[in-house]
């Protein structure tokens, strides 16, 4: 068995440990280490983390979030607000380097080895780590946590998202074959088949370590229907630099405090306390920031970016893009079964005009692929990217649906996603562009959670807005999901063969290429495999990629050390505030 270590890990570890050797009062290491990501937005991170001033300890940080956390039982977490808080009170075995969407660094595991067949991983744990309830984090605790993912208690099944997404099932259906303790600080984990993005997936906060004692004492495994289960509301217990101390008023605030016994004193929190105040409306969040009601806000509306960048008492923290917004077609529905109609629609849309209106101030960039332009497998101009009204007209004329070609265009109500800030407005702007090419457009809309998502996933809509926020920068977590096939009965079409409901992208060559890429353990080969797959996919024109979007935080200039991450894996132990602010 050849022991492998990724290069990224060694480099990251070196930087981390070098910085950790200083005292707690030195500037946080991350502020001096430039973010690994080369995306354009990441330069903002450097500007907010000046290397000059010395970190100040203490103080309360008030953070204007968008809503309350939904759960803090790590394995069930799936929404951004819960991610944010969990990221501070829990830790994973492996972490993403601050600001990066793919570089790994040690977390609760000091190091790890992978077997040559890509099936067995051995983790060597940090020692002397304690959960905030005082119990020890060791191999036993890690094995208990991983067994909980594998054999997710029946009442929790269906409440989870990442467990089933990453491991594909529970019990015998789980990708986890076995997990075995080797000694007090070592354990190994065996998979049923190789999974190329396994280590990256392990950085997701749902796979964080929780105190088995606290889980049991608060009946977390009995499920949400059991009234004795108050684990996440009363006692979410992890090893992180912050911990919950009981102060949660739904709709008003959620507060965490510094963990005084954090196992890694060099990385202990600077702040004493963080209060998250949910403010649903983005205009209200900006008001809260400007009136100093809060120190920092997340998800600044694209139209308000200028208000922050032009205010000398405020700073903008920009996350590199990791979301794709697009216009999808269903190839099983007329007239989009004709590739010329799809191509005509793609050429008809003036993406640049659209982006400058709906993603102003650099909130988004024109997209030409389902992949983000900072991913290794990305190839420029893979999809139809240019705006060419006359070409659109010509294509439509020669298609099976010559002008006036009647189409139904679906957009969602009651939603704003980073990649689709104002769906109704975007639809209204696209409509005249399509009409200029010879389409006759009938709009239709449904609430996002009121049928839109389910109908869309089932292939009911011929043409629709959709998008995706990557959890980490791997195509398997993007096109790998969009164009996946299943034998389910979608939109009433009983399929004998596997079939892609959402886009009707049933090209067998695409399916084969994606399967090859998803199970390829070697990074370089995998990247090439994905490039090949994307070429095949783009040739079919299953969608029109519109925008790559990031998101931005706004903050007073008294907040330092915040490193925005495209995946929102942001570590608040690095954050500090000017004294007296």
């Amino acid at each position: 068995m050849l022991r492998l270590r990724t290069g990224a890990l060694i480099a990251a570890a070196a930087i981390a440990f070098a910085a950790c050797s200083g005292t707690a009062t030195t500037a946080p290491q991350a502020s001096t280490a430039p973010p690994a990501s080369t995306a354009p937005g990441s330069s903002a991170a450097a500007s907010v983390a000046p290397s000059g001033p010395t970190a100040v300890n203490g103080g309360t940080w008030i953070f204007g979030s968008a809503s309350d956390p939904s759960t803090l039982d790590a394995i069930l977490i799936q929404d951004g607000e819960s991610f944010r808080i969990a990221q501070q009170i829990y830790e994973t075995l492996i972490k993403l380097k601050a600001g990066s969407s793919s570089d790994l660094e040690p977390g609760l595991a000091k190091s790890w080895d992978t077997s040559t067949d890509g099936l067995t991983y051995t983790f060597h744990l940090q020692t002397g780590v304690k959960f905030s309830d005082g119990t020890a984090f060791d191999a036993d605790a890690a094995v208990a946590n991983i067994n909980r993912w594998k054999n997710l208690p029946k009442p929790l099944q269906g409440d989870d998202y990442y467990d089933i997404t990453v491991f594909g099932g529970y019990g015998d259906n789980s990708l986890i074959k076995a997990v075995t303790k080797v000694d007090a600080a070592t354990f190994s984990m065996t998979l049923t088949k190789p999974k190329a993005d396994f280590l990256t997936a392990m950085t997701l906060i749902p796979f964080a370590m929780q105190s088995p004692t606290a889980l049991a004492a608060h009946h977390a495994d009995l499920g949400s229907k059991d009234p004795t289960n108050d684990y996440w509301q009363k006692a979410p217990t992890g090893t992180g630099p912050f911990m919950f101390a009981g102060d949660f008023v739904p709709g008003d605030h959620y507060t965490i405090v510094k963990n005084p016994n954090y196992w890694d004193p060099a990385n202990a929190a600077h702040l004493d306390k963080i209060t998250f105040q949910p403010i649903a409306d983005s205009a209200n969040r900006l008001t809260a920031l400007k009136s100093s009601t809060v120190d920092t806000i997340d998800f600044v509306d694209a139209t308000q970016l200028k208000d922050i960048s032009s205010d000398s008492s405020l700073q903008l923290l920009t996350r590199p893009p990791l979301a794709i917004g697009k216009l999808g077609f269903n190839q099983l529905q007329k007239p989009f079964n004709d590739i010329k109609v799809r191509q005509a629609a793609a050429y008809a849309i003036d993406k640049a005009a659209l982006i400058s209106a709906f993603f102003p101030n650099g909130a988004g960039t024109v997209a030409d692929s389902d992949l983000i332009n900072n991913m290794p497998a990305y190839a420029a101009n893979a999809a139809i990217s240019g705006f060419d009204a006359s070409k659109a007209k010509t294509l439509l004329q020669s298609s099976s649906c010559p002008p006036p070609c009647a189409i139904t265009f679906w957009y969602p109500d009651s939603v704003s996603r980073p990649y689709m800030l104002d769906p109704k407005g975007e639809y209204e702007a696209i409509k005249p562009m399509l009409e200029a090419a010879g389409f006759t457009v009938t709009p239709n809309h449904k609430p996002w959670h009121g049928g839109y998502l389910t109908d869309e996933a089932n292939g009911v809509y011929p043409m629709f807005f959709i998008g995706w926020i990557y959890d980490y920068a791997d195509p398997a977590d993007g096109p790998g999901l969009f164009y996946a096939t299943s034998t389910a009965d979608c939109n009433g079409i009983k399929q004998t063969a596997a079939h892609n409901c959402e886009f009707g992208e049933d090209n067998p060559a695409v399916a084969a290429a994606m399967n090859k890429a998803i199970s390829e353990p070697d990074l370089a080969t995998r990247t090439q495999d994905w490039k090949d797959a994307m070429t095949l996919i783009n040739a079919d024109v299953p969608d029109v990629p519109l925008v790559w979007a990031g998101s931005s935080l706004g903050s007073t200039i008294h907040v330092h050390g915040y490193i925005p991450s495209p995946t929102q894996s942001e570590y608040f132990n690095l954050v500090w505030k000017d004294a007296g602010s």
């Binding site: 139209t303 209106a357 102003p360 209204e428 449904k446």
Partner: protein
């Protein structure tokens, strides 16, 4: 809507005694300046709605994002919106949506509500008991949530919005009609008619109904006002017309508010003012009618 309906629900609490003196009431109404202002505003509103195609300077649905958020100028008196469309034209056309929703919702509400209220009032007994329990249930549901639920259920569109608002008004109309019928059944003039041997059906048609309808008419006028507010509120929350290019004041207000800092933010004021003026018109008239029809409040 929970709050918009407050004014309407108020009619439930202070029923107006019926009066057959319609002509007197008309005279009194003409002497009430506020009611005349109301009539003027309603007239203006209807005028704009009917003549929108003629008086609008531009096509309210044509535009391009290239010309978004232009400030008011000679070409565009109130500026342009996010899609580069002329705001003045959209406000003028928006009157059509509001007028349509308010008239349709009140008509539907009256049809169902009066039917239920009349049966309840005349038949009495168990029928009355159960109809009134349904009315109680409907009145105790949080109004806005009920309306949103119906709109989501039936799919977007102005007609759906009108129907949802109508459903909200049904229990109010039903209860008003029922209580005035009950009051009139025992009134002196009904007893008098009965004592001279008039048939029950004749009493019903000639004596009770005309008088019982008086408070309903007042309530219907006020309901026209709340319907406009409710429709705008739904538009504000994102439940607007089926085709989003259809001008609708509530939706216009939200759209501009969202981009308040991008362009001429004050343009958000214009649809708001249009809503207030038209609603005020119906409220002034409704209030004038109430006073004119209520002999107790003779001046």
């Amino acid at each position: 809507m929970a709050t918009g309906n407050v004014a309407l629900r108020q009619v439930l609490e202070e029923p107006i005694k019926g009066s057959s003196l319609w002509r007197d009431a008309g005279h009194r109404l003409l002497r009430t300046p506020s009611a005349m202002v109301g009539l003027f505003l309603i007239g203006l509103f209807v005028f704009v709605a009917v003549l929108a195609p003629i008086i609008s300077p531009y096509n309210p649905t044509a535009g391009s994002i290239i010309h978004r958020f232009e400030v008011p100028s000679i070409q565009h008196l109130l500026g342009t919106d996010l899609q580069g469309r002329d705001i003045l034209s959209r406000i003028l056309w928006g009157a059509r949506s509001s007028l349509w929703v308010s008239i349709l919702s009140v008509t539907l509400g009256l049809l169902i509500g009066l039917f239920a209220g009349a049966i309840s009032g005349f038949v009495g007994g168990w029928v009355d008991f159960w109809i009134m329990r349904v009315v109680d249930i409907m009145l105790s549901l949080p109004g806005l949530l009920l309306t949103i639920t119906i709109v989501v259920f039936m799919g977007p569109g102005l007609n759906t919005i009108a129907f949802a608002i109508a459903i909200e008004n049904v229990p109010i109309f039903a209860r008003i009609l029922r209580s005035s019928i009950l009051g009139l059944k025992e009134s002196d003039f009904t007893t008098a008619a009965r004592s001279i041997g008039a048939k029950e059906s004749r009493i019903l048609i000639n004596h009770i109904m005309p008088n019982a309808l008086t408070p309903v008419i007042v309530a219907a006028t006020l309901a026209l006002a709340t319907a406009i507010v409710d429709a705008a509120g739904l538009g504000f929350l994102g439940f607007g017309p089926q085709d989003p290019s259809t001008p609708e004041w509530g939706t216009m207000l939200t759209d501009t508010y969202r981009y308040l800092t991008s362009g001429a933010g004050f343009t958000a004021l214009f649809p708001g003012i249009a809503i207030i003026l038209s609603v005020l018109g119906f409220n002034l008239l409704g209030d004038g009618l109430r006073e004119a029809l209520d002999p107790r409040l003779k001046r």
